[in-house]
Symmetry: D2
Subunit: 277 residues, 4 copies
């Protein structure tokens, strides 16, 4: 009986990098958290304890800062691609995956050099660079949204453990985590596409009538795929952050969808991919 | 040798409450986290195990929801005051302190019934209601701001453990936690005053030249007290979220205040009160 | 151009459940966080907004509590299996995946009815129940361990961005997340096996000489596979929680591997599977 | 109208320090998080932007590491006292407050050089060093405990918003945060006293019959003050982490204090000081 090494990857995570562009009349702040992971011919580092091909994760960190000077001038996808490509110069690396999360900083008033951080959502990307292809996933995370009407949930099966009432008018809240994959090889303006896809997501979220979180994912995802030809598929992971009507009517106080108890646990969790067919 | 009960308070925390106002053409979402704490003649509940005067914290929670229907129509300060007053009807209560933190929800586009949460800062208040006075503290929390120029730190003493270089041009970042106390008994438009004081804080943060976090607190605090007569004092607690220039010049790459390592620990922490004299 | 629904799953997460067994002379506390996810014929719920086959996640939550009375009498794997099987009675469900994390509560002294929670690690399982098979993954999470000797890292490649010094004696610290899959269909005493595998993991971690985190994963994983025939493979995800020697020698104070700066970000991250070959 | 500077303090927080003692046959790991705050004649640093008396917080950090080599050989209280005293050599400093939180690392088996971290609670101290006195607070934080019997809550007042049922047998769970102040100037063996006071706390928690969290604080606090003459007072802050009996009887499943829903929000919060009289 013996053992072998299976799938493996290694790298550096939580590299915190801020870039300040000072060239224009107003500064611009970029705020990134970067992770780098390498896959390839690393079995010897496990089985034989041979480090001769193991790029140190400390070196990866240094490289992230070093390459930011020249290459973090546009989209995070472009920077991630350059960073991933850099590690492919090592023969033992077959895929370098670079994950980036960016927080936006907004100017304070008209000041050119003062900013406040918009922590309401993060823009993300995962770029997997191999010798023969580059896969680019873009996304948005931690975006908390709510519909105060046009949301229902009814018609579901009832069994001996079902107590939930059917409702044609519930409050729907979720923290959006969405990742969309760009068509491989497509020429994409990543910044423009991020704005456009995010815009579609928010617009359709606001406009549509939801009969379930599942149906909402479909309606939003379908719109994204249909309106944005550069998107091959989109995966949404949506917790259902339940808001229960506060039971104050037992105190003789009317509560027509006005006062809610908001909760974080337990929560529903719905995940699905909508793809071009 | 014997023991006695000293200062004590009790109540309910982390009451999560959402109110949706549906009257106008567009809905409005209020998102509050509420804590209630009572002080008064409660020694018997400790020393004698006598619960006859102990308003249950579960009752406090119910009351927060019940009173929200009628009283959460304006500022959180007004709601907190009403909630605090409610508990004073119990003779044993001398002070009811209500703490509220509110997150803003912004309409998505022009939709009347879809919102995204602005998690970039929280508006807070602490209202202490006694029989003879009401003390109102308002505040802002979790507001992360940065100055990319006009920030220095030099002229500090050097001893055998000092290694920090003096700098006339550093990146200054902090997460603002500010609390200001309104003049007792003043007629204050809490919503208007919150906007005005927050505006002063941001404006002065952006405009001033900082020679230290301490000096920034003074300059901002002085402006608040001088421009807003309803404010008796303001206390700011500012971590210094250090951003170190990434040492990429050792790789031959210039770095003129462009690429930074952002950090969270350790961090400086400066707290001071500026008050009307 | 049109769209289709791809991979999807839905369910309830963060179900917090405590069970107190009061039958014996001393009580026993079980503290579980449960998640349930269903996969199957749910496309209509997305594409057509048809909820007729959508077991409500609220029903899942109720079921978790209801079945805990009869079935949470032994291992979390047994409970998860029963819970998963329950949902297979619905024809549209092809796989029910139940994830459980359990925290241990230790008796305080010899008291039969007082406990303190051991938050030092969590025991986990992921049980995927299908009609033709049950896959059981067991694991341990959040276990923070350290080696103060017998850890090195040298012989790695150096390039223009490499600054890390080679070391034959570093402090190695990591937060273990390990998941092992039991051989499908094997008769396993899950509680006994968890103790045995965890024991092997800790013993080998303590005893072995580490030349890298990669080599440690191999040595520990190989021992697990070799000593525990019921384990088909084990996947370890190990952050490298760097501890840097504090540079106090510049102050004339010797520091022979004594005083360290412990850090959380950035951190290395090494993940690999060791499997029976 | 003018402004003045009020109470103020500044310093460095979240200094992460690990010390490994390698002298004995087995190593010993100390894992500290340290904060330093100075008060004194610092008004000029605010009002005049004069940094000439402002010890840099970076220097404070360096000093924490530098002094750990010589002074972190016994209790955290002794180290904190030395660290605080160091800053009093600066004339402008009137009080240096050093806060320490220590996590324990337990040997793995009989290994002399491998450890796992016990994250179940933290030992804390706050030492305020002035020229004429040293105030030492010791404490324990994040200790989660539960009583599965001998806990009741009844006899509380009922008003129009009261819905909580009286109970003679509830599950009581809390996360203990306790701080006790040593009699000023007393010769205390801090390590021994910490063990003794913690032991009393746990013993009495386990043994006593609780009619409320308030009564529990009194009974535990009184025992601490009575049994440990070096303790002048103890302050306990106890959230009431509610565990609600899961309503599965509606499904025909008996539930005699067996299956509970554990919750984190909202929670009761009771804080009181018991002092020597």
């Amino acid at each position: 009986m013996t053992a072998e090494i299976g799938p493996n990857r290694y790298g550096k995570s939580a590299i915190r990098l801020v870039r300040v562009d000072r060239a224009g009349p107003a500064h611009r702040v970029r705020d990134l958290t970067v992770a780098i992971a390498l896959e390839g011919d690393f079995a010897a580092s496990y089985v034989d304890g041979d480090n001769s091909l193991v790029v140190a994760t400390d070196t990866m960190k240094n490289t992230a800062y070093a390459l930011a000077a020249e290459h973090l001038t546009g989209s995070i996808e472009a920077y991630a691609t350059e960073l991933g490509r850099h590690f492919l110069r090592e023969e033992q690396v077959t895929t370098a995956t670079v994950t980036v999360s960016e927080l936006a900083w907004r100017p304070i008033g008209s000041a050119p050099d003062a900013f406040s951080r918009d922590h309401s959502s993060a823009r993300t990307c995962v770029v997997a660079v191999s010798r023969d292809r580059v896969d680019v996933d873009a996304g948005i995370a931690d975006l908390v949204v709510m519909k105060t009407s046009k949301s229902a949930f009814s018609g579901f099966p009832r069994d001996e453990f079902t107590t939930l009432a059917e409702t044609e008018d519930r409050l729907l809240a979720t923290k959006v985590s969405a990742v969309w994959r760009y068509v491989e090889g497509a020429a994409v303006d990543y910044d423009a596409s991020f704005e456009a896809v995010s815009g579609t997501m928010l617009d359709v979220f606001a406009e549509h009538h939801s009969v379930s979180v599942q149906a909402s994912i479909w309606i939003i995802g379908k719109a994204i795929v249909e309106r944005h030809p550069e998107v091959a598929e989109v995966t949404m992971t949506l917790p259902n952050l339940h808001h229960w009507t506060a039971d104050i009517e037992r105190f003789g106080i009317p509560n027509d969808r006005q006062i809610y108890v908001s909760t974080t646990e337990p929560h529903g969790l719905i995940q699905a991919t909508v793809r071009r067919s």
